[in-house]
């Protein structure tokens, strides 16, 4: 074990050669990560408790928020390249700061329909800021590293992002909710995120101007294709069609990732209590991912991609079973005496098992996309691989809103306590529905294995956790 840790960190020595700007970009990533992940944990509760959205509307607007992030990510890449790293960071952090302070203050000074429309507008501005920041961070890291230290550079970025996500949970989210109460605490998290945007703006100011000049020189004379042009070129290719089939087949299990932000926070506070430490349980996932990355990735990398994909997806899907079994079964487990313990037990078990599946599945997913793409079109395939999620995320937003309002509404715990909720009307049934959707993915991949793997061209890129992987993990 000690060897694995030593080996993982020994490669970081190569980063002695990177410029201070590389670390400034990572600082931006860290501070924004604190803000982004804390906001994401509480956003569904904020929309219902502070803005007055119904569960249905809150789910829908979370879905729309993610839809716009993906849409903007398709569009802003070229804009970031043209503006340069520094200016793009200025604009992104300004947009994030403006939207976050708007979202934090608005419920205290406005109410009703006006507040709702303002919040909707601010969510779209925040989506644009997020898309610009993520795209620009990736571009900046590429720019501030050399081909020799790039892989390690992105590993550091991924590590810092997960550390930020972990602290955002137990530190930021739980800290503010404990200090100011669940409703006002959520507002304070938005205000905190505004401060983080200011710090990111300052970090951007410290980045050397010469890099932008160099980037502009690098770019001059290069005509890059837009995402829509790339799509028009590749959509007829059989490799791309097979990739789309693969992506659609894996949607069920990949949507489990979005449940973590869209469904879980409400599930936690409604089946347990409003002042539940939801940040702490959200920290468990990144902590497990970081530990797993350091200790197990070299072992996992020895296995075949498709096998790992199926195993990882199966584990991730199975994690939902913990939440789907009737709570009377959990109450029968020795040592569990009450319903609070039963819910805590299944929540922690689901997070742990899901994280193990994610650890195996997520990096392999990116490798798979890279392996089926023709060598000259890897970047295009990578970019377009977000398309099915682009469609599925908002739909999942609406679906999650519907399911929450029917099976996990505010006040359901009181009715569970008194035996009013049969299994088919319970939160456990909601998770069974999600489990069935998720379980389709590994089964479908096994059944269609020949179709989706016949185009796998080369595994030589396998094992690299590069920029799109980090992007996928971030959102």
């Amino acid at each position: 074990m000690f060897e694995a840790v030593k080996n993982y960190f020994s490669e970081f020595k190569i980063l002695k050669t990177v410029s201070k700007d590389f670390w400034l970009v990572n600082a931006i990533q860290f501070f924004d990560g604190l803000a982004y992940f804390a906001v994401i944990i509480v956003i569904s509760l904020y929309l219902t408790d502070s803005v007055g959205f119904s569960d249905m509307e809150a789910g829908a607007w979370q879905g729309i928020f993610f839809l716009f992030i993906t849409a903007f990510m398709f569009a802003v890449g070229s804009i970031c390249d043209t503006l340069g790293v520094k200016k793009t960071f200025y604009i992104a952090t300004a947009l994030l700061g403006l939207s976050r302070i708007g979202l934090g203050i608005a419920p205290q000074i406005a109410a009703g329909g006006g507040l709702k429309y303002f919040v909707m507008a601010m969510l779209i501005v925040m989506a644009l800021g997020t898309a610009m920041l993520v795209t620009n961070t990736n571009a900046a890291l590429r720019h501030f590293t050399t081909p020799e230290n790039r892989g390690t550079g992105f590993n550091v970025y991924y590590l810092i992002m997960n550390i930020g996500a972990a602290i955002a949970g137990f530190g930021v989210t739980d800290g503010f909710r404990a200090a100011f109460g669940p409703v006002n605490g959520n507002l304070m998290i938005f205000n905190f995120s505004f401060v983080m945007a200011l710090i990111c703006f300052f970090c951007a100011w410290l980045i050397s101007k010469r890099h932008d000049d160099a980037a502009a020189a690098e770019k001059s004379g290069v005509t890059e294709k837009t995402p829509l042009q790339i799509f028009a070129e590749v959509w007829k290719e059989s490799a791309f069609q097979k990739l789309v089939l693969f992506l659609v087949l894996t949607l069920g299990v990949r949507l489990v990732f979005t449940h973590q932000t869209m469904v879980m926070p409400k599930y936690y506070v409604r089946t347990l209590y409003n002042d539940f430490e939801l940040g702490l349980v959200n920290s468990l996932n990144p902590i497990i991912i970081v530990v797993g990355l350091v200790l197990f990735i070299p072992i996992i990398n020895k296995f075949n991609i498709v096998k790992l994909l199926v195993v990882g997806m199966t584990i991730s899907a199975l994690s939902l079973l913990f939440l789907a079994v009737p709570n009377s079964w959990i109450m029968a487990v020795p040592g569990i005496t009450n319903l609070n313990q039963a819910y805590l037990y299944i929540i922690v078990a689901q997070i742990f098992v899901f994280a193990v599946g994610e650890l195996i599945f997520s990096p392999r997913f990116v490798e798979y996309v890279a392996s089926v793409a023709p060598k000259d079109k890897v970047a295009a395939y990578m970019g377009l691989s977000a398309l099915p999620m682009f469609i599925a995320r908002p739909i999942n937003g609406f679906v999650s809103g519907m399911l929450i309002s029917s099976y996990c509404y505010d006040g359901i715990r009181a009715k569970i306590d008194t035996g009013h909720i049969p299994y088919l009307q319970s939160p456990e049934w909601m998770w069974m529905i999600y489990f069935i959707l998720a379980a389709i993915s590994p089964i479908a991949i096994l059944l269609w294995r020949n179709k989706v793997t016949s185009e796998a061209t080369d595994d030589s890129d396998a094992g690299k956790k590069d920029e799109p992987a980090a992007e996928e993990a971030a959102h």
Partner: protein
Amino acid sequence: MKKYGPIVKDALILVAFSSIFAVVCNYGFKALKGQGVTTDPIVAAIIQNDIEQMKKLIEAESGRVNNPDEQGRTPLMWAAYANFKDTVAVSKNEEKRIEATKLLVEKNADPNLSDRDGWTALMWAAWSGFPKVAETLIASGADPEKADKRGYTALMLAAMRGNVAVARLLVEKGVRTTVKNADGKTAHDLAQEMAVKYPDRKKEYDEILSLVL
């Protein structure tokens, strides 16, 4: 400017497509869902403990104070509900909720309406641990002995949740302690059962057991 042209065009196409997609999804799911698509603004103001906003809304449309939501819950039931582990948080919330409750009953909110499962506002107050809200509701005519569809009364709910102050209030109001629910259990049985399940709250349950003997 030339270099920004195609980018802006692509961005506009994507944003337009996303917006149309979101609008279509919204209409589709609204049609599927029907009731419960929006939260009553009065309920939203109660959840936010925004009494001023609540006053404004009730003044504007006092006829809506008894409007039920998807689960059959009225604004008065929402005012009587909270789910906190921390007892200090419960008390803090009650300070706001008592104002909301008084305002609603003043505007003719019916304290005896029940939700889909037969719970009244008083039952929600008993479960949530709001003794002052419960007192206001009883003073406004709430039936303290009403039972839900499974035979649970407000006293049983207070007893099983370890809410001593509400249980004491109900006993003082002369509520019968021998009533049984659909499972044949009295408030005493429920408190005894919960005392075993939640040993950390033994003190509260012991107090309740002495009240509902």
